[in-house]
Amino acid sequence: MAWITKQSGTMRIARREEPYFTPAMKREMTSKVLPRYETRLACTMPGLHLIQHEYGWVPAQAMEELAEFLGVSPAEVLDCASFYEEYWLKPKGKHLIGVCRSIACEFCGQPEVTEAIKAKLAIDVGETTEDGRFTLIELECLGACGGGPAMLVDETLHENVKPGVVGAILDSVKDDGHH
């Protein structure tokens, strides 16, 4: 839910010495992103995507660093990051499993698929496995209604998922590469 207020006023930020927003990322932003937009604020979303792609989530310190780089207030970056669901403001598992729960998928068998994943990973929706490998969420429409039930494992879309093949799909997920 995009509009739920998240605690931020009293937020304590866990910090580390090494910056999250690296010089390489700054170079990429300067060369590719900044010239496209009229305002620096508009580069917030591409910047957040860059951070999330690297770390799998968006740490508060990274948001501060991005704000400083763009010359906008950290509150503006948090405002943007907390509105959009795809930005994770707390760490998630290495791999994200998003099961579509919208109209076509639900009535073509999504509840059984979710149950099968829950049983396989021994977690509930919204939880992360103990080894930190998988986080399971349910998403609204993935735009794959013709192939429902559909699920997204990291960046890969699986269509016509049957409860019986869930295990094989999850077993085939490799740990190398990006989040």
Binding site: W3, A42, C80, F83, I103, F107, C141, G143, C145
Partner: protein, 470 residues
């Protein structure tokens, strides 16, 4: 064999093998070279030989209506941009910065038609963008792709790279700096902007806010985006499929376009052209098909999708994305065109992507699913929508669990009817979608809801008032 297109061959899916004109397994992403070999970018060349106003006029004449859901005439939208005053030397004046925002934020449940175009024929969209930018004097185009479309983002980015390398975009101008009818080349830049999982960004002004790096809260109109849009500059927002229609309209002319589709039977503007229709749900062969507008839903299901799954009976269909409401069991023969809203008591054609339900479907569960979607995706800006969507979801859950009372049905209808821009309580149409979806389901399947609720009062055998007997 399904009825073939009036044009004789597919238009939008000319390079994407689709039943009955090709086999799905032959699909592949069309590269720049293949696109050009199969006649790609010839429409752009033709457009550049025409005056920009003539291109707009041709699109206007074709009465192409937006394919993103609202069905607003595209050519008319283009004419809302401020007029460009001629320069002092009689040459075309400088329009200043203007933007084209391409809406590829396809998040309406049931809708998956733009994905097909993005997946397999990315250059068709780019050609449409190039023509639109030339016609509307636009220098920068942003393609707003939803965050969940990872694969489609990669494909579009690759296609844009190819287009830059081949002189379509950037550099000296469209088509390697080709001389245009205005005497000057026209330079266009095209970028991808990724969304991050918010349905509301499919609303045009919500999309602009997201492009500006803010939360995707729709803006109050007026001013309309064509006057004051992205970064306060004149902006045109078009759907992917709409732009994909533009090259063929320019190539073959508006008269040719008007031969596809159908005319209005209720005195409204015509529904010309073909439309991608993505059918999902309980049919044998769900998928995206290109059909003439005006095709009957039953024809679409029986001839294109191989009939209902398991030979079951048709119970209902979401008209075109959940916002549009539901077609009841007696509306299987509804014509899929822009008149559908006036004729069948749904909001409109929407994205023309029906979700079909068979006789075993629990319509209360359907209503609950839709209510949950809108509760989840309400952006929280306007109170009637933020609160109303939450209440509706709670009511639907209660009724589904058998805990509801008869008065809950009236309460739900009352909440639904009080939401939306049509009663004038919210900024954008999301609440209207919620309203129409739940109201049509509750009205068309009233008995199913009534069976699930307990009576709110105990009937007493007593008549009062004029009919009372002494």
């Amino acid at each position: 064999m399904p009825p073939s297109l009036k044009a004789g061959k597919p238009i939008l899916t000319a390079r994407i093998p689709t039943f009955p004109y090709g086999k799905e397994q032959d699909r592949h992403t069309v590269s720049y070279d293949e696109y050009v070999k199969t006649g790609g970018y010839t429409a752009l060349r033709k457009a550049l030989s025409m005056a920009p106003e003539a291109v707009v006029d041709e699109v206007k004449k074709s009465q192409l209506r937006g394919r993103g859901g609202a069905g607003f005439p595209t050519g008319l939208k283009w004419t809302f941009l401020p007029k460009v005053a001629p320069g002092p030397d009689g040459k075309p004046g400088d329009p200043g910065q203007r933007y084209l925002a391409v809406n590829a934020d396809e998040s309406e449940p049931g809708t998956f038609k733009d994905r097909l175009l993005l997946d397999f024929d990315p250059h068709l969209q780019l050609e449409g963008i190039a023509i639109a930018c030339y016609a509307c004097r636009i220098k920068t185009a942003f393609i707003f792709i939803r965050g969940e479309y990872h694969h489609q983002t990669h494909i579009t980015e690759k296609a844009i790279k190819e287009a830059y390398a081949n002189g379509i975009f950037g550099g000296k101008g469209l088509l390697n700096g080709a001389k245009t009818a205005t005497g000057e080349p026209w330079v266009v830049d095209c970028y991808v902007h990724r969304g991050a999982g918010a349905y509301i960004c499919g609303e045009e002004t919500g999309l602009l806010e997201a492009l500006e790096g803010k939360r995707g809260w729709p803006r109050i109109k007026p001013p309309f985006p064509a006057v004051k849009g992205l970064f306060g500059k004149p902006t045109i927002i078009n759907n992917v499929e709409t732009l994909c229609h533009v090259p063929s309209i320019i190539e073959h002319g508006a008269d040719w376009f008007s031969k596809q589709g159908c005319d209005s039977t209720v005195g409204g503007p015509p529904s010309w052209g073909t439309k991608l229709m993505g059918v999902s749900g309980h049919v044998n062969r769900p998928g995206v098909y290109e059909c003439d507008l005006g095709i009957k839903l039953s024809t679409l299901v029986n001839d294109y999708c191989g009939g209902m799954r398991g030979g079951k009976k048709f119970k209902g269909a979401i008209a075109g994305g959940v916002s549009m409401g539901i077609l009841g069991p007696d509306q299987f023969d509804a014509e899929m065109d822009f008149d559908i809203g006036r004729k069948y008591n749904v909001m409109g054609l929407g994205t023309a992507c029906p979700t079909i339900f068979d006789e075993d479907t629990d319509m209360v569960a359907v209503a609950r699913n839709i209510a949950r979607f809108f509760k989840h995706e309400s952006c929280g800006q306007c109170t009637p929508c933020r609160e109303g969507s939450g209440w509706l979801y709670q009511l639907m859950c209660r009724i589904e669990e058998g805990q509801g009372k008869t008065k809950d049905l009236d309460l739900a209808l009352e909440i639904a009817t009080s939401m939306g821009i049509m009663p004038g309580t919210t900024i954008c149409g999301l609440a209207d979608g919620n309203n129409w979806a739940l109201r049509t389901i509750m009205n068309k399947y009233r008995d199913e809801f009534e069976k699930r609720v307990k009576p709110s009062f105990i009937p007493v055998k007593m008549t009062i008032g004029a009919g009372a007997k002494g």
